[in-house]
């Protein structure tokens, strides 16, 4: 059933009154933002099998005097857009974005983390909402990103011990940052590393026991989609 933009914004996103398509429908707060996805298609997607994301900028100041530049913020938005397109292949959508920041003076050195630091970060901070927490830090010294290490995915109770979110750093290109976001949030939704380099969960191509992904790792299988849809983070239809 087709519904109006205003009704969809109210039912699915909880916004009313004057609606900004970019801000209120897509959740992109930093403009301009080039998109190819139509509003109609996006609204159709977010009504079922959707997740919300709570995106933290660690060490961010509103005037961009902290750890991130305006271009960095737009890269994060673009990464969400890429994630949306990749997940759409299996009918999973990203419905709502909650943007939050950890001020520089509260960041406690979490700008630069390793695997343990990533766990410390997610144990210290969480979004006060139902979005999967995604933290952007300046530097991850031993990886490109960290997410839940559990085969069943990350918890929906953000007060659990251990890593309760994904931690990312910006990559060399906007698109690859999006692939990495899809990969790490995919882990949180229960996906495990694979054996196909063209899949978002990558493959161990150099036989070192560690999987890799690159900007061509964009595929996703129906089986992976089913795994994602069974995770507790999936929101009710709206």
């Amino acid at each position: 059933m087709d519904i109006s933009i205003k009704n969809a914004a109210l039912l699915c996103l909880g916004v009313s009154g004057t609606v900004s398509v970019r801000r209120d429908i897509y959740g992109y707060i930093w403009g301009p933002m080039a998109r190819t996805l139509s509003v109609k298609t996006h609204l159709k997607r977010i009504r079922t099998n959707a997740i919300n994301l709570c995106i933290f900028l660690v060490g961010h100041e509103p005037d961009f005097s902290g750890m991130f530049t305006p271009a960095n913020a737009q890269t994060m938005q673009f990464a969400v857009d890429v994630t949306r397109e990749l997940y759409a292949q299996v009918g999973v959508s990203v419905r709502k974005l909650f943007w939050r920041r950890i001020p520089l003076d509260e960041a406690d050195g979490f700008n630069v983390v390793d695997a343990s630091g990533a766990t410390n970060l997610t144990e210290a901070f969480s979004g006060p909402n139902d979005g999967i927490d995604v933290f952007f830090v300046t530097t991850i010294t031993d990886a490109g990103g960290w997410s839940s290490p559990n085969p069943g995915g990350g918890p929906c109770d953000k007060d659990e011990k251990g890593r309760t979110g994904a931690v990312l750093e910006l990559q060399s290109t906007d698109f690859f940052t999006g692939v990495l976001m899809a990969h790490e949030v995919g882990h949180y939704l229960g996906l495990v590393h694979g054996s196909d380099m063209t899949n978002i969960m990558g493959a161990d191509t150099n036989n070192d026991g560690i999987g890799e992904i690159n900007s061509g790792s964009t595929g996703i299988t129906a089986s992976q989609g089913n795994t994602m849809k069974s995770h507790c983070s999936i929101r009710l239809p709206c």
Partner: protein, 355 residues
Amino acid sequence: MTDRNVGSSGRRFSRELLQAISGDEVSCFTDLPVLAGDDVEDLKQILRGEEDPGILVDRKRAVNALARSESSSEAAEILEQILSNPGETIRVRSVAANDLSLMPSEAAEAALLRNADAESEVVRAEVFKSLGRVGTAKALEHLAALPEPKTEHARQQLSLARVAISFRSGAEGRGAQDANRALGVRWTTHAVRPVEGERLRKHVAALRGSTYGIGLNPETGFEISCGERATHLLFLNEAVRRGAFIESVRSGKMIAGLVGLLETAEQRVTIRYLVLTTPTERGLEVVVTRTNGDVAYVGEALPDGDGLRLTMRDVGLERTATEIEGRASNEDLQLSLRVWRGQAKPKRHGEPILV
């Protein structure tokens, strides 16, 4: 072999090297590629700017690849050039500072001290972190003369560096902090299991990153499981050995052990806490810090028959209050973990971004 493998000078680069430094690829989870032979020499030239491999290079990955592949004065020199270059990004300089702790300690310490007044407080904090891992007593005077860091985190890392160096070397410096805090009731006890032999060696082999300048006891360690989601490993300093457990820790202040977080999915370990011990008139003071300098647990071990009885508590940093108890004799070490099941310390949530 494709033309992507040919650099600016016509030189051909291996697939392994290009994969390790590409800005269009990352290993998951851990991304710490190791290269060998000619690839390392090629990598040095790329990092020095003498060669362009003709692909989009992620210099952070390239720095990590060098540090994981070669520990030498030459590699330390390249890392220092990157660390001290304001033209490099904070991200790359931070990793260079971090990776210097994997270089030969004398060269690393000198390079880090030369950059201890870096203009970026983020980079500075990483320099202090690395100095805490490899610094010697001679660094203490230099650190004491530094201007006060501008950020709380840099101050904490500087303090931790002084403490780690002081405890490791036995030199005088800032002592351990005592921040006892009474805790509530309702505890669940978790056994801390000893781990030995091949299993321990596997854990040690899985360890990534610095061991803060100490050798690890290859015979005795502990596994600490707090439910299904987190397994930690207590590695003892090699100086703390069976037959002389008490004698060794009472011989002087020291980094008695390191606690690592085991990533069960890929069996890799990174260090999360340092265990610092100081002999006192009463027995032994024990402080456990996170690697960012936050004190997480404090306690003491008091005489009990022919051994020592240990009691430690968290200082409120961990969201779930925890008490660690144990008993040590020269021959045996037993530990248990009691976790408070009451209301956990609330998380912080940051602030909404309003544009």
